[in-house]
Symmetry: C2
Subunit: 226 residues, 2 copies
Amino acid sequence: MRIAVLGSGMVGRTLAARLDQLGNDVMLGTRDPGATLARTEPDAMGNPGFATWASVHLDVTVTTFDEAAAAAELVVNATSGVASLEVLEAAGAENLAGKVLLDVANPLDFSQGMPPTLSVKDTDSLAEQIQRAFPAARVVKSLNTMTANVMVDPEQLAGGDHTVFVSGNDAEAKQTVTELLESFGHSDVIDLGDLSTARGAEMLLPVWLRLYGALGTPVFNFKVVR
Amino acid sequence: MRIAVLGSGMVGRTLAARLDQLGNDVMLGTRDPGATLARTEPDAMGNPGFATWASVHLDVTVTTFDEAAAAAELVVNATSGVASLEVLEAAGAENLAGKVLLDVANPLDFSQGMPPTLSVKDTDSLAEQIQRAFPAARVVKSLNTMTANVMVDPEQLAGGDHTVFVSGNDAEAKQTVTELLESFGHSDVIDLGDLSTARGAEMLLPVWLRLYGALGTPVFNFKVVR
């Protein structure tokens, strides 16, 4: 599948690399490809500069948000929650129309310090904001409840015996995303319902963040035992 | 242990019955014991009237909030979230002082219809509101992330292979609650940290409610796979 991953941070890179490895035709969209590709210094978290990553992922085309989205059959929003609407605007409503838009972002607000709060919650969600802004896109929320490494390689953790959620208004789009999740190795995909159920998935972040603190590692996930 | 369970709904009854069965000395606190004990009709959910329940739990003393709390070593808040502060006021700050106060309630607001929203969240929690209102109580948040039946009998589900959280500012109080949880059969108790981490546990409710809808049963729980 031709897939655009919007976002050059660790989530975008991790998804792009795995999708490429699985044989997809992957474009990574970023604001200024030249500037992104010129980054050789590690970021504040100690992750290698983008140039280092790109040098070992030569099959992933690094391009602008709109070029990536225009060429894709499926678009992944892997940007930070505060930037998502603006990035999707840059990608272009016409380039998202009719396409599955997999939203893995979380509306985390770090402006008041740690831990972050949610900029939207309970009576609305980032996924719904995106759907309202781009009504012709087929938005599916998923994967936002785990760290990037577990998103793409669930089997590293308890052989994959844990859960991933999907929320969305379009059953066919959720099926497409479910197949993508299964290609990553996910075996327990729960369809929470329409896109308003993304409120629940996004509101998992606060306990996720406390668990990260308590466990000292982001490599964990929720399993819905039933 | 002498334990007061405040609340005569299904959560209060389920906890009181199980604590009694485990050999504790249990008092169930309610606003008007006479009126509660006179209820013979099933409630709106089809649960038997309190009188029916009381007739098979004769060892549980049904009394007022303040008498129950006064006599107890440990107090359980099993009231609805909207009523919790008022009920604890009726129980009496002097009867809570120095005691472990296990808060299992959720701040669900049903006033706007279904699904309920949270009346407090993200930058505060019901547990913290209770702690501020009763600074001498030793508040521990726990058990609010699962249905009453699973709270007291975790082994009915996957042999108990799932997780319960504790949050609180008093390490000794959390240890007391952890031992109580273990007496129920819980084997994976995660200490999330201080009482502000109850924000995370309470914000699990929205996804819990959507899962209840998607799965068609409340008998499930989260396991933190790591």
